[in-house]
């Protein structure tokens, strides 16, 4: 069933009784060509791309809970490609270009909204760093505009320009950045993959890997053994736990990142603002909620919840930046478990176990990467070679020294 305005019209006239399931609920088969562990954004996008772009449809996506229950369903929905380093920027720009065509790819409105992002700076060093970044972006074919203070004020007159502890001197603006409706991204990919014949099996937890003579030939699950020529693990947040079942240790720690949404308000914040000095970023959803967040809590956690000091810290940043949000009320807070990698950048690579592939280490940047991550993972699975934009995301880069450290924080995950 193809979604369209006409279909909505005809269904509306007939009581909306004709809508079909968005995806099937299949029993897992005993063998697939590819098994993807994790029906989050990246797993579903990988399956979708395998089927649509590479013609591999004999694919199962296994999910221990409900599809989209990981970080795709608990993030702050920002998409952008304002990265610095050559290992990252082309990948995220590829991702942004895929976001721009997501709806036509999936026939599902994921509400990709290119409302622009501004990263503020507050001193000369910050401006220089923004300029270096902006130039890197443009060298990779992305868009970047360096705004001065008045340029920022023109877009966001209500920021604190007059009494700020860290005065706003300007910002790096990416007009093509924005937000997308996070759940709808998962659903769009799930429906798209399902329409290409991919089996999405929910409530099916992987409990082990079948490894014979150094080769992965399938997975053990709560619904039986499932064979596969290739297995890809896309379970960011739980990567260490899952890969440990294959005997692998990772350069990853799990950390909790909190996010917040306010009550619904009439439109007040047009785009996305990132306030580095205050560790705060914010946008406003189409429903009207202010969606905002800040730093990770900073300690290893799998608990999907954080603590009060970080809540206060984030709100302090918000009030310092835009003191008009004081009477807006925080409605809901939640935590997501992040795969914080040792250099702050992700991994899409083969593993030392033949036939076992790994996608993870997304830190707090996994959502915006979803389309390219899916594409590049599918590329690796289908061709055996990394996609050119993801070639730097190797598992062995920590051994070789080819780390991709955007912040220069070194091997300390909670500082990335």
């Amino acid at each position: 069933m193809t979604y369209s305005a006409w279909r909505i019209f005809t269904e509306g006239l007939t009581g909306n009784r004709g809508w079909k399931r968005a995806w099937r609920d299949p029993e897992p088969r005993s063998d697939y060509e590819v098994v993807i562990v994790g029906a989050g954004g990246h797993g579903l996008a990988s399956a979708f791309c395998l089927a649509k772009e590479f013609g591999i449809t004999n694919v199962a996506v296994l999910e221990k809970g409900w599809l989209g229950s990981g970080n795709i369903g608990r993030n702050t929905t920002i998409i952008r490609s304002n990265y610095l380093l050559p290992g990252n920027e082309p990948f995220y720009e590829f991702s942004l270009k895929l976001w721009e065509r997501l709806e036509e790819d999936t026939n599902y409105n994921s509400m990709v909204s290119q409302r622009g992002i501004i990263n503020l700076f507050h001193n000369d060093a910050g401006r220089d760093a923004a300029r270096r970044r902006g130039n890197a972006m443009m060298l990779a074919g992305a868009d970047a505009v360096l705004l001065d203070r008045e340029g920022v004020r023109a877009q966001y007159p209500f920021l604190d320009f007059d009494n700020a502890r860290f005065p706003i001197r300007g910002g790096l603006y990416q007009p093509r950045a924005g937000t997308a409706r996070h759940d709808a991204v998962a659903w769009g990919y799930a429906r798209g993959a399902d329409r290409h014949g991919v089996d999405i099996v929910q409530n099916c937890e992987v409990t082990g890997f079948r490894i014979e003579a150094g080769r992965c030939t399938g997975v053990e699950t709560t619904r039986g053994t499932i064979g596969a020529k290739k297995v890809a693990v896309c379970v960011a947040g739980s990567s260490s736990r899952v890969m440990a079942m294959a005997g692998l240790r990772l350069p990853i720690e799990s950390h909790v990142l909190q996010a917040f949404v306010s009550e619904g308000l009439k439109p007040v914040i047009p785009g996305v603002i990132t306030y580095g000095a205050g560790h705060f970023y914010i946008s406003q959803s189409d429903k009207g909620g202010l969606v905002f967040g800040g730093d990770i809590d900073g300690y290893n956690s799998y608990a999907q919840r954080g603590n009060l000091p970080m809540v206060e810290d984030v709100c302090e940043g918000g009030m310092a930046l835009m003191p008009m949000i004081g009477r807006a009320k925080l409605l809901r807070m939640w935590g997501g478990v992040m795969d914080m990698s040792m250099d702050g950048s992700p991994i899409i690579d083969k593993t030392p176990v033949d036939g076992l592939y790994f996608n993870g280490g997304w830190c707090y940047g996994g959502f915006k990467a979803t389309p390219a991550s899916g594409w590049c993972t599918a590329h690796l699975l289908a061709t055996g070679a990394p996609h050119p934009t993801a070639a730097a995301y190797r598992l062995d880069r920590f051994r070789s020294g080819r780390v991709i450290d955007e912040t220069g924080a070194g091997a300390q995950p909670n500082r990335h």
């Binding site: 260490s240 736990r241 240790r249 990853i252 720690e253 300690y299 290893n300 920590f398 091997a411 300390q412």
Partner: protein, 93 residues
């Protein structure tokens, strides 16, 4: 969170700065080679459950502590001075 400091009693976690896995105490011998240092610096068990980890009482007595904390529940199971742990693990001069 509240960390029961072995010398100072219960202290708010915001007085501390977190570093990571207490295995960072086990620095390889200087001649151990790049592989050993790679494992030491980059690889983590990252357990879901009891985790021994280093916290620095930056806004306090500047002790490094080894806190054993459950990463699923955040329950703190034990706290020791890192110095004592280090000595026990054979570190000296």
């Amino acid at each position: 969170m509240i960390i029961p400091h072995p010398l100072l009693g219960p202290r708010d976690a915001s007085e501390f700065v977190y570093l990571g896995d207490a295995s960072l105490i086990d620095r390889p011998a200087p001649e151990a080679g790049i592989d050993a240092f790679h494992d030491y610096v980059y690889q983590r068990d990252n357990p879901a459950g009891a985790h021994r980890e280093l916290w620095f009482h930056e806004h306090g007595d500047r002790s490094w502590l080894v806190v054993t904390r459950n990463t699923l529940t955040h329950e703190i199971l034990a706290v020791e001075l890192a110095k004592d742990v280090a000595r026990r693990r054979g570190r000296g001069r």
